[in-house]
């Protein structure tokens, strides 16, 4: 019992083991439910909900919201609530939970401690990321992992594109520090 507790309290697990466990979760999700384990779609569901409150006709006439990502509290939104709780529980249990404006030491060392710089880059990056996920039909979890386990070619095309441009972007951002 104490051994199990010690494992649960450990700050970091091996990525191999946690990845393998996610593989099991992905199998269970296919076996028990018809929904893919997607992350990015839920933000579009909520975004559509907010936009519909502001501009209802715009959302009603938008083909993307009408056929691909209907606004509302969908299964994926509930999944994201679970993700938040799970990550929160994990960090609380290992006593690593902190509230910080610029939490990452590497970011601070490379780009400085400015909170606005970090937040603006995170916000713009999030927009670009969601836009790309919208075109591709999923993100790292919903397409690359949930699609990949079913051997969907889409997942591997997406991963190829993601790594190609990710490496280039990191090179441009880090320049001589790359």
């Amino acid at each position: 019992m104490n051994k199990i507790l010690a494992i649960l309290k450990k700050e970091e697990w091996s990525p191999y083991w946690s990845g393998a466990a996610l593989g099991v979760v992905a199998v269970l999700s296919v076996a028990l439910s018809a929904h893919p384990l997607g992350a990015s779609g839920s933000f579009e569901n909520i975004g559509g909900l907010i936009l519909r409150a502001i501009a209802p006709t715009l959302v009603a006439n938008n083909l993307y919201f009408r056929f691909i990502m209907p606004p509302g509290i969908t299964w994926q939104v509930i999944l994201m609530v679970g993700v938040f709780c799970g990550a929160f529980a994990a960090s609380r249990l290992s006593r690593t939970f902190r509230l910080a404006a610029v939490p990452d030491p590497q970011w601070r060392a490379v780009f400085g401690p400015s909170r606005w710089k970090r937040w603006i880059v995170a916000f713009l990056g999030g927009i670009i990321l969601e836009y790309g996920a919208g075109i591709a039909g999923g993100c790292t979890s919903g397409l690359a992992i949930a699609g990949g386990v079913a051997l969907a070619p889409a997942a591997f095309l997406f991963m190829g594109g993601m790594f190609a441009s990710g490496i280039l972007t990191a090179m441009l951002l880090y320049r001589s520090r790359y």
Binding site: Y16, V24, L129
Partner: protein, 93 residues
Amino acid sequence: MWDYLLALVFGFCFGWLLQKAGLTKYHKIVNVFRFTDLSVLKFMLSALVVGMIGLYGLQDLGLLKLANITPTYIVGNIIGGLIFGVGMAGAGF
């Protein structure tokens, strides 16, 4: 109702594992693109390997039927991936 409960449970496991693997941290995400920390790849590929074997193994045993596999749109998937990568390397999420 049962379906939403499952969503909560799967989400909890998913978030827990991401946090424990350190993939909620900026440096883990961006360093995979700099080849200095391959945690993201280790995580994703072991999830894929276990998931692939699990799904197709269960299907061959007749315990599970794979339905609605993600459709492929070659141009869309690649262009979407290319745009996604820019955002991922920048934001680090």
